[in-house]
Each structure stands twice: as C-alpha cells, then as structure tokens.
Assembly symmetry: C2
Homo-oligomer: 429 residues x 2
Amino acid sequence: MVPHLITALTGPINELEQRILDATPVIERWFRLEWMEHTPPLYCSVDIRNAGFKLAPVDTNLYPDGWHNLSAETLPLAVQAAQAAIEKICPEARGLMIVPENGKPSSFYLASLARLQLIFRQAGLNVRLGSIDPAVKKTASVKLPDGEKLTLEPALRMRYRLGLKDFDPCTILLNTDLSAGPPGILEDLHEQYLLPPLQAGWSVRRKSRHFRCYEEVSKRFGKLIGIDPWLINPMFASCGEINIHEPAGLECLRTEVDALLLKIRRKYKEYGINEKPFVVVKADNSSRGMGIMTVRDAKDLDQLTQPRKEKGKTALQPPNGAVLIQEGVLTNERIHDAVAEPVVYMIDRYVVGGFYRVHAERDVDESLNAPGARFVPLAFAGGNQLPRPGVKPGASAPNRFYMYGVIGRLAMVAASYELEATDPDNEMS
Amino acid sequence: MVPHLITALTGPINELEQRILDATPVIERWFRLEWMEHTPPLYCSVDIRNAGFKLAPVDTNLYPDGWHNLSAETLPLAVQAAQAAIEKICPEARGLMIVPENGKPSSFYLASLARLQLIFRQAGLNVRLGSIDPAVKKTASVKLPDGEKLTLEPALRMRYRLGLKDFDPCTILLNTDLSAGPPGILEDLHEQYLLPPLQAGWSVRRKSRHFRCYEEVSKRFGKLIGIDPWLINPMFASCGEINIHEPAGLECLRTEVDALLLKIRRKYKEYGINEKPFVVVKADNSSRGMGIMTVRDAKDLDQLTQPRKEKGKTALQPPNGAVLIQEGVLTNERIHDAVAEPVVYMIDRYVVGGFYRVHAERDVDESLNAPGARFVPLAFAGGNQLPRPGVKPGASAPNRFYMYGVIGRLAMVAASYELEATDPDNEMS
C-alpha cells in the first residue's frame, strides 16, 4: 500500500477522500492486476494538487531528482523497493551505473544524486556515476556540504555496452531527461538494461500523450470505485507546434483556452463549486517549470502580443513550440501560510516517500515549480498515528497520504501505457 | 538489503563483521539468485546469537508471533514486503484469513495478532481471523489494552475451501505451529493457498533437518565470502526418539554431548578462544522455550537421574522425545547489563525489523527464551547514522544490523530447502 506520511492537511475527510479510503482493498487489488499486464517505470515522481473537491496529478517526472528532499526515515522503503526492482530486471546484477544530467551540477542536484546512489548501494549494488557529457573527460570528485564525496566518471562506450573503466554494469539508470534527444552513446545498447527507456526522454515524450493515457486510466478507476473521473482527472487540450507570437498560434491557444475554461465552468456549476476556473499553459515536452502560465480568461492572452506594462507577479511567459493547456487544479494545502503541493515518489510499483513543494510568493492557482520554491519532507506518522483500517471512523488517524499514493500510482500506470505506446519495439504501437 | 536498525553492540567492528560488510554486493546478489531457485517462506523470525568471534542462528520460527515487539516505525517496511508477497502468491486476492493458535490467547499473543492483521490490511487486503479451535463456536470480540478490538470468528470448512461466513479468502495464513499435527479442517485445501505449508508444522518439522540444511547453506556462503562456515554455523548432533530417563536414552545423549563439546573445544583452540564450550539440548520438534538446557559437561547430565537437590537457576529440564544437541553460542549483546539476543523478522525475502530478547536473570550461555524475558524493539537509525557503503571505514556508522539480516536470511534460505525436502508434492523429496 502506501506508507503513512503526515500531510499538512488536517481538516475533516471529504467525500472523495472517504471514497478512496473505503475502497482500499479494491484499489490495491486493481493495482496488482494492472502491474501483471504493464511494467511500471523504474522510478517516477508525480506532482499532485488537492483542491479538496478534486485531487489530480499535474505533472509526472520519469527522471526524478529531488531525492534528497525525502525524509531520511523513508530510506529503507526506497531501498526495499529498489531491491524488488533489481530482482525483476537483472537479478544477477553486480553493478548499476547512474547517468546524471549533463552540465555543471547544482549543489541540490548533487545531493539528489548522492541519495539516489545510496538507495541502490544499500540495495546491494556497486553503483557508479557515469557522465555522458562530452565535457567530462576525466574522473572528478566533488565534496558535498555534508562531507560526502561524489565521484563522476566519463562513461565509456564499447561496441554494444556502456560502462566505465573496469566497470561493466548490468543496468544503466538514466537520471537525465534527454531534452536534446538521445545521444549516440546511448543508442543500440542491446545487451544492457537502459532504464527508463529512451522514449521516456522529452524528445519523444509529450505531456498530452501522458494525460490522454491518464484520462483512460481515470475512467477505468472512476468506474471501479464509483466516482466521476473528473474528480481525479485534469482536463486538457493541446495545440501542436505553434508560434505563440504569430496570429495563427495565438488563435489556436485562445480557442482552446476558451473551450477548456467553459468545460471547467460547467463542471464547477454541476458540483456547486464557487471558485474561478483557470487553466495552465505549459510546454508539451519539458519537465522544467519555465514558461508555465496561469490563464484565468482568454483575454489574458492578449498581453502576449503587447509589450509588458508592469512587472506583475503573474507576468505571462509563454512556452515555445507545442503546448499543453491543462485544467488548473487549486491546491488546498498550506505550510505556514505558504501554498504547498505534494510530490509523491515511487520506485518500481511502490510509493517510497514524498515532500511538499512550498512557495511563499505564489498563489493557490499558480505553479509552484519555480525559483523560490522550498521543499519540506513528509515525515512518517509515529506509532500513535498508525491508521487502522477497519476500525470505526474517527477511532484512528486516517492515512491521508494514502490518497496521494493512489493518485501518484494512477499517473504511474498512465506512464506505463505511454511508454508502451511509444516503444519502438512494440508492434502494437 | 536490510534496514539500518540500531544495535546494542557498539564496539569496533571485528574481522567477521567486516568481511560481511565488505561483501555486501556479492551477498545481495547471492540472495537474489537463491530466490530465483527457491521460494522463501511467507514469513519467519530467527533468533541470533552474536559471540563476537561467531554469529549464528539458533532457532528459526516459521509461525512467528511477537509482531507487536517490532518498532512501529518499521511497519511500512513490513507492509511493503507483504504487498510484494501477495503480488506473487495471489495478485487477484481480495481477502486473507489468519488462523491463530488454538486455546485462550494471552494478551501478548493478541497484540501480535493485531499487528499482523494490520500489516496485511495496510497491504490492501480484507483480513479476518478464522479460528480452527473446536471450542470457538461463535464470533467473539476481544478488546486490547490500546482500545483496539480484535474479532475472532470460527472457520468454516466447505468442500475444498476454508473461510468464514460471507468470506472466501484467496490465501490462508497459518499462525499456529500445529504441534499436534494438521487437523482435518486444514487438509486437502487444494483451491486456496495455505501458507506456510502444512509440512512447516512441528508434527513434521525437525530442528535437526533445519540445521542440516543450514549447514549446507553456510558452507556455500562461507565459500562465497571466504570464511570458515563454522563462524556462522552452530554445530549439532541429534538423538532420535529417546527417553531421557532410561539408560539407553541417557547414554546416547551423553555420547553426543561429549563428542560435540570436544568438537567445539577443538574449534576454540584453533581460533584461540578462551571461553568454556557448552551445548544446548532442546526438543527436536518444538518452538517452545520449555525444556531447553545448557550443558557445559557431560557429567552435568547425571543430575537428570538424580532427584533435584537445590532450586538452582540452571536446574535441568530435559525435553522429551527426539532431541537436538546444538553448539552453544555465547551472546555478546547486553541491554542495561541484561543479556540480550537479537530476533530478526522477515516477510517474503525482506528483513522487515527486529527486536532484542532480553533476560535479566539469564547468563550469556543460557537460552533467553524463557519466562521473564522482555522485548526491546530495534529502532531505526536516524539520518545522521545512515550507513554509506563505499565511504572510507569510520566515516559513517556501520549498519551492524546488516549482519543480523544476512544471518536471518541464510536461515530463511535453509528453511526454504527444508520445506522443499518435506513437500509431499515434491517428487525429488
């Protein structure tokens, strides 16, 4: 199931939450059966927004960083899940190579890499970091703030294998999103496991495909537990490759934004929700928080063609190229008055931890994935707070984090569909 | 691998420990390969004694109780391991029935059952307790000290299935050691998973068989990491069905005790160990702590034929029937001056926690599994104490508990061999 982490939200359990908690055995069985048919990505993280009336994933990262933001207490869970993953992928493995992002790493990214390396080391593997950055020509060590040392080595390409000097790993774990497309050094590695597969990189991946898969998953899941799938599914539209500064591009965007706002307005009316609908416009193929804009009215888009008048906090920064127009989901969670959204981490089929992304200068309808965000690990619930399924309501603390674990895993199921659909070896695709 | 729990032992890491820690990737790979060939028991607990120079399992329980003695923090690990087990055994499962011991349960046993039920409930199953005690004729609820309620229902036998009223579980989890032999109600359940299998019950199981399997495992493992298997293997001998009060029975016991003491003495000499060898005599087919006696000299056995002179703390209580004569392993661990031994818990192939069995009135060469024992959960190591494999010795706290997790799992591998050897459906047996 899902570990019991303490959420910031402590109010009464609402109808949607109760429905999910009550259906636990049905939900867990459903996931078990899904994973008999589909292969989960080796790891992923999912950004979740809980509006109270609605709970939905807004972004699924298949090359998660931020591992150091998980509570240290949750490490054994990550290790156990990593063990389970390795048992399935490559039980005879001795070594695993992690391929980090190219470029000069930030101290945050180094801390994340160190934690990721620790997880797989504790799972019993020799783990080394192999860079595919052409600028990395020799082995370099970096000292981390906690005194730990990280060693980055240049990856060596043999005919069909990738490795390091005196190191021939069974599995290569990519921790770079390959926005620029898979480099030659990673192609045709038919003798090793390359995970996630190359089609998970942003040169192939599209958010719109992910959310189309998620929509399918949410429909089946909605039927399973008897809820309107909209309660867990952010609606979306997309424009293909557009130039937002040209009339045709802007027109497509305006039309889609208008139509989506109307659909949301109808849904809000159906459920008697007194909130202002909004949509979020973001690049269809990037994991970065750059260029994400909140749009509350199609007229807002006019600003795009006008010189910026004032340095407002909602200044629009449109993404270039194909865009995803996603139903905006408010977040109800706050930590010390700052708006917060949970991020759930998974390894193999298991939820292994999470943290809050918190942004003091952002509003409940804005993306928090922006400079200035802080991260608060979700702690484990202590002994007194153990949820006890089956006891009468109110007799034990509910595992609120459970719902987040369910939504995170639904997004992971969607990602597995997505990777199957784009698998070049899959004849069905 | 193994979660990092804090051990009582804090001295320097000795040679044997260092060897095990250094070989971690090799060891973990070996376990992964073992589990490709053999099926681990669904759960088990292993009593371990750490003499410093030697580290060995002394008892392997295939129907573990004492689950409530595990630290609450470790619950998510147990839940995740239970999930992994269910995924393999019966992914389509909705329900699991736990069959507890017959007879009036102690408050300790009820607390253990409650924890076990919680583990499998959190793993996403409907879990109910089905008693096979003929005295249990109707559903009864017991209130636990913490306010929780446990409901015990009489198991119902259908033609090929066992269940409860309106409850048809996929898996039946036995938590009773079936000392009196498997009752008819459990036989020929060919449509459900009955775990552990019936041959794990004490009417079939023999400690001598378990330790013969363990000896085989320890030889292979010793070769793997380059150590004398004796360092992890308690030597043993056995007498068949004997009556200890008859000359022939006593004679067998005396001969075997003498021979084993001699073997231990030789080993102690080989390693320059200045301790007094001892053996432990116990029933070959019982999990109870009753009738376990420490023998330091074959002459001690003379007392058995004489009326007891004084109420000494080492009064001999010989077991009846077949006996196991096991090399005694000192324990080096102490909690507040009281002698302690670690007990390691596993679900499926994963170490999920442990505790210390502590006995203030027992000596380092006596069994601690006796009335008066207390239990101290092993806590998780905090963030600062995260072991970091790969860093230079001394730079991070070693995961001492790791060695216990290795020995526990070696005993679990032995148990899997043992259950294969006694499987009535196994043509090889």
